[in-house]
Amino acid sequence: MNDAESPLSCTIRPTKYLSIGESMFHSGCGVIEILFPNMRPIDIEKISFVNNYTAALSIKMKIAKSASNQTGHTWVTGLKNYQLMPKPHCETGSQSYFHLMSSDFCKQPNEVCALRFILRQPSPNWKTFTLEEIYVHAKKTKDPTNENPKWLESVENLSASEMKPRDQAELKGLPDTEQVSEKMQEILQLAEKTVLSAPNVELGRFDIDGSYEINLLSYT
């Protein structure tokens, strides 16, 4: 799985500026699209980028609807008018590094298939504005295969000075648990055997609890 440290590989489309027809004018609005190719929906932990004269940022997230048993996607606003430059006309923040954590989002960025960054620059001072070095980091997912099964973990959390329960039980005059356990394990083996030898053929009984379903009986 992807580590939280290494960014996800994703396709980042170049910034598109809002325009009407062929005419170029300063609309003050641009869009960057980010796609995650060949990957299932991801849970985003962190997005980092370097600003390049963008005043405010909104993020739309394309979220898979698999949770509600529906196929398809919806667009959700993840971030609304996040200020990158406190004063759009001034330089401050125009070249800063930003890290957006999942807690900064107004909606948890889980199960995301694509992102759209909507960049705004109201000041006419800056003709072009964009974001650079965009990196998306996924949440560290717990790999179920790597988890230790219960029986591998330490038997009982005992300190060294404490006695094992089986020794305590022996002292209190309880029956020998080791012997009982041994025999129970044998029973388990026997049970296992009955499961394994289950027949692959059926006798062809149709009755349920000794009585027949009337619809199954027919005059043939």
């Binding site: 029986w151 356990s181 388990l188 289950a198 027949p199």
Partner: protein, 262 residues
């Protein structure tokens, strides 16, 4: 000259050989040795003794005893038990009376009624009140024909069940410990029964090796001991349980996991 008259030693040899052939001992002994090699019992002499005992009585005995004897040759955990099952099934499904002219008597195949008797013979060492629930689950009806798959399953389950009852008995005697008599603390018994239930529950159908380990983990000595200890500290009143009730409850837990025939 030498050709016409055999030496006295060779003559003696021929005489012995004739006798063995005439009385059919050679083939029978060979058969016995084959069975011995096939089953490889721990105590070969006892096995042979039983084998010959069965042969000498088999003339008088009926089909069920014959089949039972075949099955009895090895323990169900041995590989050769599977071969014996096939032989036994063939023996059991022989026509009842090949010489009879009536068609119904002539048909080969294993009917439910014969099968029921066979199961009862296998379980004859177990008290009847204990194995009733088992037979309810795996018994066949008198009119049904028993296919080999079902035959193998039921017979194996029966032998497993006999072993299970033995194990239950020895667990109970461990639980009794030094106490004299045939009763022990009811709470202890209940803990043992419930932990068996837990273990069998965690034994999933898919039989992955992990589920077996998980089930065995539930039954480890320390777990049993700690549940016994926690119970001991919380309760003071002493009710008791006798062996019969203990066996019944254990068997109920065990048989509830056995697949019902369909």
């Amino acid at each position: 000259m030498g050709d016409r008259k055999k030496s006295p030693i060779e003559e003696r040899k021929q005489q012995y050989k004739d006798y063995l052939d005439k009385t059919d001992v050679t083939s029978q002994v060979r058969e016995a040795l084959l069975k011995l090699i096939e089953n490889q019992p721990k105590d070969p002499m006892l096995f042979l003794a039983n084998y010959f005992d069965n042969i000498s009585t088999s003339d008088k005995s009926d089909k069920i005893t014959t089949v039972h004897q075949i099955l009895q040759l090895t323990h169900h955990s041995q590989q050769s038990f599977q071969t014996n099952l096939i032989v036994a099934y063939d023996a059991a499904s022989l026509a009842k009376n090949p010489n009879s002219k009536k068609a119904s008597m002539n048909r080969p195949g294993l009917t439910g009624s014969v099968f029921e008797e066979l199961l009862a013979t296998i379980l004859s060492n177990v008290p009847k009140n204990l194995h009733a629930t088992l037979l309810e689950r795996i018994g066949c009806r008198a009119s049904e024909m028993v296919p080999f798959g079902v035959f193998r399953y039921c017979i194996t389950v029966c032998y497993v069940f006999v072993d299970f009852v033995k194990l239950c008995g020895s667990i109970f005697s461990v639980l009794c410990g030094k106490q004299s008599g045939k009763v022990t603390d009811k709470d202890i018994c209940e803990i043992v029964i419930s932990s068996l239930k837990d273990a069998l529950d965690s034994l999933q159908d898919d039989n992955s090796p992990c589920s077996i380990l998980e089930a065995a983990y539930v039954l480890r000595p320390d777990k049993l001991a700690s549940s016994l200890l926690s119970n001991k500290s919380s309760k003071t009143d002493k009710s008791t349980m006798n062996e019969d009730d203990f066996m019944k409850e254990m068997i109920d837990v065990f048989t509830s996991k056995i697949k019902v025939l369909k």
